[in-house]
């Protein structure tokens, strides 16, 4: 599963100043693991609520986007981190069943399950010993 950076589509580029900030975004760290039935992507998205995360699959490209909201009241006296919106893309191959992708969000961690298509599931071949 290769990471990819797809050129932004033209219609997205023409959006109004509200989205102009998107040129500054954070790349979330991810774990990707593959077991018999599925590919799984786990990403740290602190400050992103369940309703602020978007997962899309388009032309075999998985896009993860999250709008981070954070902040406490009052005047800042000490500042170590700053959250921007998250954005990362991965190139999928044909083996993923795109209809059955599932995602969950818990404690700022996103988990995406990408089930493999039936025909690409591994078939075990018995090794015969003579």
């Amino acid at each position: 599963m290769a990471e990819t950076t797809i050129p932004t589509k033209v219609e997205e580029k023409q959006q109004t100043p509200a989205t102009r900030e998107e040129s500054r975004y954070l790349v979330p760290p991810v774990d990707i693991y593959e077991n018999k039935g599925s590919l799984n992507v786990v990403a740290d998205l602190p400050g992103v609520g369940k309703n602020n995360v978007t997962i899309r699959v388009n032309n075999n490209v998985l896009t993860i986007q999250g709008k981070a909201r954070h902040g406490v009241p009052g005047e800042e006296i000490h500042d170590e981190f700053q959250l921007l919106d998250f954005y990362r893309q991965f190139q999928l191959d044909e083996t993923v069943n795109q209809e059955k992708i599932e995602a969950e969000m818990k404690n700022g961690v996103l988990t995406v399950h990408l089930p493999k298509a039936e025909r690409t599931k591994p078939r075990e071949i018995k090794v015969q010993v003579r």
Binding site: L45, G47, H78, N107, G108
Partner: protein, 157 residues
Amino acid sequence: MRNTWNWDPLQEMEDIYRDFHRTFGRLGAPRWTWPFARTSFLPGRAARAYPLLNMHEDADALHIEALAPGVDPDSLKVNIVGDQISIAGEKRDLGDKVKPEEYHRNERAVGSFVRTVALPIAIQPDKVEARYENGLLTVKLPKAEEARPKQISVKVG
């Protein structure tokens, strides 16, 4: 708070240093985590340097916000000792359900952490509230009576 009748040039230099780092943002985070210093949570690399903290202040309370995604909520411990606050917890890995050979990428750092920082003002330790939501821990520390601003009325004679 500084006494203006007791000016200390070294203190002044330290203030300038602090202002500089606040502006350019490397205070607190260890140097070797650059360029992720402003957004990362790497307890496996430096257990005592994380989580990163933002501190805000209003008239009634101090507010601390800590960046700690994926921490087991039961492991989070917030302690107040004297004028210090310590935040401890553990971010677990995916566990036994994932075998090492199944990983394509493993970028998320895991591990235990504990960070202790000095509080700038007196607070009421028994009224502290902490909350963990969306991977961010927020702590509200109400100010002690003596730390609240008091307005002095000026008499015109």
